[in-house]
């Protein structure tokens, strides 16, 4: 089964453009990041590795605490570790600025 997780965060920083990074390959993930109209960030995670909602929550909360960007983020995950997810998020943000 695929698990779909959604998260929302308050945001105040705009992003300049959309960004696409990563790949749906073993131990990796793909991220699509697009500017959002309102002052909120929304994240949808689709993952084939189930049961790690708490870990996703922690990784994403830390990222949006440091980068309160108004963006819609979609993550297609194929077993990326928390460190890989954090790096991909940073890469997406860098590409979008």
């Amino acid at each position: 089964m695929i698990e779909t997780l959604t998260y929302r965060y308050d945001a105040n920083a705009p992003v300049a453009r959309r960004a696409h990074v990563g790949v749906v390959a073993s131990g990796n993930c793909e991220i699509l990041l697009e500017p959002a109209g309102d002052s909120q960030a929304s994240v949808v995670v689709r993952t084939s590795v189930t049961g790690y909602a708490d870990t996703w929550k922690a990784v994403l909360a830390r990222f949006f605490e440091r980068n309160p960007i108004a963006a819609n983020v979609e993550i297609n995950d194929f077993g990326a570790t928390p460190a890989v997810v954090a790096l991909r998020l940073e890469q997406a943000l860098e590409t979008a600025q």
Binding site: M1, I2, R18, H20, V23, V24, A25, N28, E30, L32, E34, R46, T47, S48, E74, N76, D77, F78
Partner: protein, 268 residues
Amino acid sequence: MNVLLADSFAERGARERAQGLLDPQTYRELLGPFERVSSPYLAAQSVVPQSDDGVVVARGTLGGVRACVIATDGRFLGGSIGEIGGAKIAGALELSRRDAERGAPTRTVLALDTGGIRLQEANLGILAVSEISDAIVALRELVPVVALIAGRVGVYGGLSLSTALCSQIIVSEGARIGLNGPDVVETESGIEELDSSDRPLIWRVMGGRRRYDQGFATDFVDDDVGAIREAVLHAFERPRELGPLVAPPFPNPRLERNEFLRAMGIEP
């Protein structure tokens, strides 16, 4: 070649490969990831889909001439071809054919890195390969179609047949060309015939150098983006003829390793 300084083509993703082939600043993607045209079948089978279905179709120029690069991503499900990715490839080839017919020839490159048809979309994948092959045959009547096999997977399965239909076939040493992959041969014929974990053996039998020597490819390149781009330009400007095919006919479906190698024309 200095491996530390080389700009490896094989280590790039499909999108970066297409960008490396087209003239700088001309890259424009059709049905890119944000169009979200991805496989509707994978999630039901517990597989996470990728937003571009593992196929990149890019338009731009190549040597100043209108061009289309079609690249499959071998990292996503082995670069396998499903309904959506297959339709993107066939559609891109169809666009190139229409361009050629209206007097605006398009340099079309198939940068394939694929294990073949996607098992999760079985019949739709088979249909896609037939549409792709049909489109290649129609297009090559008008303009050259260049296959570039220089990824980490190579080309296997249905698309190896489509590759053989192209007018020019460029291959790198690290890539492989075969109908059945090593795992399939081992499963079907036994480990006594082919041990799929024996990498040197696999490359001796179906590696890029071997396939070039056998006359299955028109050009052999180093794994370097600049060198590969040159070879692709060369393939359009001064097409080569395929050499005589030196692969002997295969006699028997079940052979012991050394017999198998001799049947392939290799001294064990």
